[in-house]
Symmetry: C2
DNA sequence: TAATCATTTTGTCCTAGACAATGTGTTGAC
DNA sequence: GTCAACACATTGTCTAGGACAAAATGATTA
């Protein structure tokens, strides 16, 4: 990571720091009060001005928090101790197939765009779409997230990686026109959750299962989700939550939506973000793993009188029993 | 728009209202104090609970504000007067080629996904990529935005439209591999600006001009933009701002970035969001229209000794004079 | 070992005042 | 009549410290 001395930078206002770090203004102020960090200067008007070095440290702290450390502990540490935590490997998190993913990670680290793109298409041709998503893409996204949280790569590398994945998914899915399949599934996220890759993975997996996905993209307000679900006559709404989305907000948003959504339409929620939700929510199906998606699908199909269709069977138009 | 009576909804907490309306908690509280609206109930703990009807009204007010009306005026109006404003056509904003776009708008309004997708590809084949973007896509996006601000369509229709556009752009651009062209251009947005379509339009226009675009996707923190620009050795950073992004924040962000970006790398900013920026910013090229992009490109090329290359000329690898 | 309770931690919400940045309207000069 | 400069009104954001509930941690018991 680059740590360059910046000339003539008196400091960033609190709104810029919120934008850069993702920490709310309230949190920044209360940390200052409780832990004595950060220690911003003040401008002529008494407003906070954060030194760039402190902003950098705040982003580092935020990253470590996403990894599970708690602020009270982190804010008491000095630079050296923080850097040491970056190195520490969380043995539990380490995904399987590590060996195999190392080659991919090398391409990500060196931002070798062309090679990455080529490799994606080759591997997909080799494994087929479903296996490619489940066995390569999903673990790889996890791995990239871990690498970022360990400060081995930056946001830049993560963004570039995501862009290539997205480009690949979209060009592949463009030619697999939505069939007349069942159930019909609305794919979107709540306002504030901007990650699209989860939705694209679900779309890819569901298309080959004869499901008819309607991709709405990220950040739909709940009343518009309700309207979309009714107009497009979907059987279920499927939301995706990344680990960055606060579990409190996820749960609150799911409750809000369940309240307004007609009872006949199911509500499925997936992604790393739902792992942190402890209490089950009435009328909401939480799917922390992709397996849950298949479970929900199978359950819906048996309840609605469809023969279970395996992914490996050539799919004819599904008909009610 | 659907206005259904919701059962058992005591009200939404302020964080949900912020998520749904895009109005900050500070703003919601100060409106209540100053204008006497909204008038949330309180829960046992004294915290605000907003009635769903009021939330709906707040989103309507926000929409009208994006159209230029001021809060002080809007908050004094009753339901009927607000609805009347929705109808009022802003004659000035009306785009040219209205006649031609009507057919497209009909497809958007009826959420006819298949027809829309087909029509995109046909028209692109007919006009060529550059003309398609400049003469169809850009005005159509404006038109859709206006229709939304006039409450003729909802977020749902707008999202669906955007998704189809994005799918089309990405599958088309996937096969136009980045050349070795010059200048090298980094495409991204600041944190908080999630609109990707502007970036994709720029990528499409630049690819056919022999520029080598590096698409980073939306929401990159400024220090990572700096790092990406250096690692990918780009000649300029190009940011996109939608009209939803506050002009104050745009200007602040551009100043922040210009401060940290090496002087040798140019900074270009485009999109509707920069129209509202009054004062020019030192070392930043503001391009409210697409023409500005071509101007910046031509200027860079003459300054760096490249022959100007027209879009209509078959492009050979550009070489310094 | 697993489940229940008590305790700390931590983010968000509260009030109400202040100010700067922007928008609007008015005056005056040409 | 048109345009610049001014004064005034509007509006979002920032400040302060207190309060509380949800979540995480540690202690106790079955």
């Amino acid at each position: 990571m680059i740590t360059e001395a910046m000339p003539f930078v008196p400091g960033l206002p609190i709104s810029s720091v919120e934008r850069e770090t993702g920490l709310s203004k309230d949190t920044l102020r209360v940390w200052e009060r409780r832990y004595g960090f950060p220690t911003p200067e003040r401008d002529a008007n008494g407003e906070r001005l954060y030194a760039p070095m402190q902003v950098q440290r705040l982003t580092q702290i935020k990253r470590l928090m996403d990894r599970g450390y708690r602020p009270g502990k982190l804010l008491a540490l000095d630079d050296a101790a923080l850097a040491a935590l970056d190195e520490a490997r969380p043995g539990v998190l380490a995904s399987p197939n590590v060996q195999h993913l190392d080659n991919w990670m090398h391409l990500v680290e060196t931002h070798d765009s062309e090679a990455l793109q080529r490799q994606f298409y080759r591997e997909m041709g080799k494994l087929g779409l479903a296996s490619f998503v489940l066995d390569i893409v999903a673990p790889l996204i996890t791995r990239v997230g871990e690498a970022w949280s360990r400060n081995e790569i930056g946001i830049f590398e993560e963004h570039l990686f995501s862009q290539h994945l997205e480009k690949m998914f979209r060009s592949v899915l463009a030619n697999m026109s939505p069939q007349q399949g069942s159930p019909r599934l609305l794919l979107t996220t709540l306002s504030g959750e901007e990650h699209t890759l989860g939705l694209l993975m679900v779309e890819a997996l569901m298309v080959v299962e004869d499901v008819c996905p309607v991709l709405l993209g990220p950040q739909t307000p709940i009343d518009e989700i309700v309207r979309a679900a009714q107009l497009k006559q979907v059987d279920a709404v499927c939301l995706s939550f990344s680990s960055a989305y606060s579990p409190t907000l996820s749960a609150q948003g799911l409750r809000d939506l369940r309240q307004m959504l007609p009872a006949g339409i199911e509500l499925w929620a997936g992604g790393y973000g739902v792992k942190a939700i402890r209490k089950p929510i009435d009328g909401v199906c939480l799917m922390p793993e992709f397996q849950g998606l298949y479970d929900c699908l199978a359950k819906w199909r048996t309840q609605h009188g469809y023969e279970p269709v395996s992914a490996s069977v050539i799919s004819l138009p599904a008909t009610p029993k």
